[in-house]
Amino acid sequence: VRILIGVHQFFPRHYTGTERYVLNLAKQLQRMGHYVKVLTYAFREEGDFRSSTASSLVIREYSYEGVPVIALRHTKQPDDLVFVFDFMDMDIYKEAKNIFEKEKFDIYHCAHPLRIASSIKAARDAGVKVVFMVTDYFMMCPMGIMLRSDNSLCDTQDNGRNCLTYCFTGVAKDRMQRRNADARTLLACCDRLLSPSRFLIGLFNHTGFIPAERFYLSRHGFDYRTAKKPVSGRSQELITFGYIGTVQYHKGVHVMIEGFRQVRDPNIRLQIWGGCFHEVDYQKSVLKISGGDPRIEFKGSYNFNDVGKILETIDVVIVPSIWYENAPLTITTSLAYGIPVITSDIGGMSEAVRDGLNGMTFKVGDSRDLAEKITAIVGNRDLIATFRKNIQYPPRIEEEAFHTELTYRELVPVT
């Protein structure tokens, strides 16, 4: 099968979760005997760009770890430079259509539509089957995370009214409506919609954007090459709780610290790993809340490759986010290493952690409830061992690729 995977940005310059998902998938599919190419967008003119014959874009073809990549770039900056509102772009459409027709792809797998959304329409028009992995809420939320500018949770855009009221006050109504119309057009072009969590399916269904029955669940795979050994043998006296992620408001670090401080036990510790990104004021406020509690250690930013080492010293990971995390990498990583998690009872978080089974969940934003959960663990250490025993390891990248291949096979039969 010949597959083109589209993603809004790619290695080597960009390396967040979505890019990693694409790279892992592409490499595994290659190993299973498929031809895979990545289509992406380049913000900077680095490397050898050439002008296109099909559109006014410039194009760069390169390879990353054996995977062929084609990067597109505008010669003239489009009006909506970050592409938050304008899904459709004639140049991207023309270029993508040309690629589909010239290279005879069977499948277009879109991993994120930002910047390159028109390629979905181009694939459909070129007769190529479209698989769309919906990794976040971007198709219905220009902010992408269903969290309003005032940090309150949003559960529907209400036909755009909430977006214009809470997040984009300066934006014209018809622009928002066009965004929604374009989003629906693009979704109609897809032959298969995949979601990494049931929660995301539910939320799209709830807002009326995509009915649940159109979705197929396809959990993200974890790269176990980095997680060789489940950790064992820790301190008997101390229980170490850990937070791994950026110190930002919507990550709920303040809720966690407030909750932790309510538990007076001297034999517990809290390690906070991660930088503040650019929310310096928030970091200051968090320091203030922690009030110099000697049990709380701020460890600063960390390297993703060192997470295994960090987890060796942690007994329970806390993920206190106050937004609808979808498939949070910290939870996946902790579970892959066999570490139980306490997390908020919303979004994809409570989907990965079942309260009382492989960890605990607490009422989102409620530090008192979190304190109760911590107290329960302090009162009964054996809980940790029980949780660990019940952990189901998250799927591997090989499994994800295999299931994706089965999806392709349903769309493109073996000849």
Binding site: Q28, G33, S63, V67, Y224, K228, Q392, E398, F402
Partner: protein, 806 residues
């Protein structure tokens, strides 16, 4: 007509060219703009039909002025200006044409801005006259100047075509019109005077055709006119001498110098392209030569084929004759007596195990003769002795659609497998990851109870400790007792489940429904045994991925779910090797079966116990299912030497199981030939290594294939720098490379076949640079596969060092 629009006058000067004039006037009539008037000044030329012109112009009004004698272009122009009434004035010579939007585009620029003079661009159209058809035709077109207004340049160069301009009438009058002392370049002189006071606006759009006539039509091309042009230029420059300041000269010259530099660069570029073309030409002629050689070769092969066909026909006739003779013999009394004796003897032979050596080729040959006639014997013998490579689509199985994930989920929810399932895993030093694997197995969904049975043959790592966390059923045997079949049978004996599943210590189930998918078709009574596909680990090397892909997916057709049983074909023994292996494919890496069924058969081969089980079951009429839609993650990255030994052992084992005869060539000869091929391969790789970084991976493999065909026939000594596998290198270092032509040719041919498949597979990767080591290793491993196969299949004796240690 919009009364708001100002009147535009277009002055047309003409002399003796009525035919051309019509075209010019037509282009004015076609203007989208109104109101327009034409001041047609006939500068002492032939009589014109004013009425005809009026009809031609339609709603454009005509003011026709006829001068008695020729007064020159400048005077004719001034007469035009004097007779015009329009607010704006443009000029069109009788041989040029305007585009319909010319006036419409320029008027607003004068009307709505402070500009007094505006101009557009024109297309130079080269015209020639076809004397036979008496027609004009275009010979070429180019954009004539498109430069923004630059007075410094205008001083040296008349770069604004006159018909492209539109003037305010007032401005023209202020300037005093055209200077009548000029016979040519009167327009340039006017622009030089106007441009000193006013900036002209340039509209970057082509709105007119500037026709250039071929030399026999255009007066200005003649030699006498060259002189005229030169004189006129000198006169203009003389008149405007004070405007040519040193600064302007410098400005103009630097533009010229810049242009010259650009031209130089272009020339260098063109020269390079020509050189490239030349090189390509040479390359093409070399390719053509090669192609003609190939043609000659294929012609030769075709004639050889024809000769063979003729021969085959003759043999066939002979066979028919003999068969008739045999039939005649059979009908005699003596034969019938003999037949009775043979039946008795066959019955005795038949009581032996059909797969035992006692069942000689002769007895089986007799059986075939009896039931299928002599021709079948000959056909089968041919198949047996001539190794025919059949690569055809397997059609002895029924493809079934895999269950969708939703169907499986609902089955698991509504109708789980209530029974106990025993999973048997032989282990030895399974490593830390075994914990992960066991947890993944025990967390499988939709199964009543999962019983793990570990048969460990001497682990000295954490295997036993990890296993204890999951099961009590751990059987420990001494390492030397391990046997692929017997060890698994031992595990199965301890099993108490209704179903048995065999897997291996480093196979990880894909998903949580692997067990259910494996056993559900058995529980439903569809089939007797099921195996699932293997997929590579994410860190698998190219060779292990390719070998599974080419062997199991392509050769055995493993990319679909297939049920196979012997009602689909007449006689299993009649099938070719590929079909047999594909039909009887059970895989002890992921195999599900009812315990009661397994107990009837058990594993009992020294080699490929799973295939052997499959063959016995198929022959007994069982149905087997291969699932491409269900899988375990299982692959090994192994060094090249492993494949030399593995291929040797596999071939030898398979030959035994499928009753094929050993080869007839002395082992030493094959070793020497292999060493020769190996040396050649190393040489090829070293030669290619220097510049393959940016190649496509299949290009590299193809280059190796190409070199295999063209490698010289002289003996290549050992010792080339690139040595990939120490063990392989060491092995062949002890063997003198000798060019045994036939074996070398065959081995290379075989390598070409296999490498062709590798080339196809690595076509999925971007560039050699990214996978260099992995790729070169794969090529050497292919060599090891082929060499191992040859050493086992063709050699009369065993090759000692390759026998042990797999």
């Amino acid at each position: 007509v919009n009364t708001q629009n100002p009147l535009v006058s277009i002055i047309v000067r003409t002399k003796d060219r009525p035919k051309l004039l019509r075209r010019a006037l037509q282009s004015i009539a076609a203007q989208k703009y109104r109101p327009i008037e034409v001041i047609l000044v006939n500068d002492g030329g032939c009589d014109l039909d004013a009425e005809e012109m009026r009809t031609l112009l339609g709603s454009v009004s005509l003011n026709y002025v006829r001068l008695e004698k020729n007064t020159g272009r400048a005077n004719a122009g001034n007469v035009g200006i004097e007779n015009s009434r329009g607010e704006y004035i443009g000029f069109l010579d009788d041989d040029d044409e305007l585009y319909p939007d010319h006036v419409q585009l320029l008027v607003p620029l004068l009307n709505q801005t402070d500009y007094k003079v505006v101009y557009s661009d024109s297309l130079m159209v080269y015209k020639a006259y076809d004397t036979e058809n008496c027609e004009l035709y275009d010979t070429g077109k180019e954009l004539l100047f498109s430069n923004d207004f630059d007075y410094n340049r205008l001083v040296f160069e008349n770069y604004i075509p006159f018909m492209c301009l539109l003037f305010e009438r007032e401005t023209l009058l202020e300037a005093g019109g055209l200077d009548t002392s000029f016979g040519l370049y009167e327009d340039w002189d006017l622009l030089l005077r106007l441009g000193e006071k006013h900036v002209f606006y340039h509209l970057r759009k082509t709105t007119a055709n500037y026709n250039q006539w071929s030399s026999d039509l255009q007066i200005s091309q003649g030699i006498s006119n060259q002189r005229l042009l030169q004189n006129s230029y000198i006169r203009i420059v003389s008149k405007h001498m004070e405007k040519i300041t040193p600064e302007r000269i410098h400005d103009y010259m630097s533009g010229y110098v810049h242009a010259r530099t650009l031209l130089k660069e272009k020339e260098v570029f063109v020269a390079r392209l020509q050189k490239e073309i030349h090189e390509k030409d040479i390359h093409i002629s070399a390719l053509q030569e090669e192609a003609s050689e190939n043609c000659a070769q294929s012609d030769f092969l075709a004639s050889e084929l024809h000769a063979l066909q003729v021969l085959a026909g003759e043999k066939e006739a002979l066979l028919n004759e003999k068969e008739a003779l045999i039939n005649a013999m059979r009908s005699t009394r003596g034969w019938r007596l003999l037949e009775k004796y043979r039946r008795l003897r066959d019955r005795a032979a038949g009581s032996l195990n059909p797969d035992s050596p006692g069942n000689s080729l002769f007895v089986r040959g007799m059986k075939v003769l009896r039931y299928q006639g002599l021709r079948a014997v000959v056909r089968k013998a041919n198949k047996k002795f001539l190794f025919s490579k059949t690569v055809k689509n397997v059609s002895y199985s029924i493809e079934i659609p895999p269950l969708s994930s939703n169907a499986i989920e609902s089955n698991i929810a509504s109708n789980p497998l209530a029974a106990r399932v025993s999973v048997v895993i032989p282990t030895k030093n399974a490593g830390e990851e075994f914990e992960y694997t066991l947890r993944k197995i025990t967390q499988q969904e939709g199964i009543g109870e999962i019983e793990l049975i570990i048969v460990d043959s001497g682990s000295d790592d954490s295997t036993i400790a990890i296993s204890r966390g999951y099961t009590e059923n751990i059987i420990q045997i001494p390492p030397e007792d391990f046997h692929h079949a017997r060890t698994r049978n031992l595990g199965a004996e301890k099993a108490s489940g209704e179903f048995l599943v065999f897997t291996v210590q480093d196979a990880i189930p894909v998903g949580n429904q692997w067990l259910f998918k494996l056993l559900y078709p058995i529980e439903q009574g569809q089939v007797s045994a099921v195996s699932a596909r293997q997929i590579p680990r994410s860190d698998a090397d190219i060779f292990s991925c390719w070998s599974y892909w080419s062997h199991n997916l392509n050769y055995l057709g493993g990319n679909r779910d297939c049920i196979c049983n012997n009602s689909l074909f007449s006689n299993f023994d009649d099938l070719d090797m590929q079909a047999k292996r594909s039909m009887a494919r059970l895989d002890s890496v992921s195999l599900g079966i009812r315990k009661s069924v397994f107990d009837e058969y058990r594993f009992n081969a020294d080699y490929a116990e799973d295939l052997d089980l499959g063959i016995r079951m198929i022959k007994d009429g069982c149905s087997l299912l291969f699932q491409s839609s269900n899988a375990v993650i299982h692959s090994h990255n192994r060094p090249a030497f492993y494949f030399l030994k593995r291929s040797y052992a596999d071939t030898a084992g398979l030959w035994g199981m499928l009753h094929r005869e050993r080869g007839t060539i002395p082992g030493q000869m094959i070793l020497e030939a292999s060493s020769y091929v190996y040396a050649g391969l190393k040489k090829s790789i070293s030669a290619l290594q220097a510049n393959w970084g940016s190649w496509q991976p299949s290009g590299l493999v193809d280059a190796v294939i190409h070199r295999l065909s063209h490698e010289g026939s002289t003996v290549q000594p050992h010792g080339y720098p690139l040595s990939v596998d120490q063990m392989v290198d060491g092995f062949f270092k002890t063997v003198q490379p000798v060019h045994h032509e036939k074996i070398v040719r065959e081995m290379r041919e075989e390598m070409r076949n296999v490498l062709g498949s590798l080339s196809e597979f690595v076509g999925n990767f971007a560039v050699v640079r990214d996978i260099e080591r992995d790729l070169v290793n794969s090529v050497f491993k292919v060599f090891c596969l082929v060499a191992g196969y040859y050493l086992a299949a063709k050699s009369v004796d065993e090759i000692g060092p390759l026998r042990s240690g797999i």
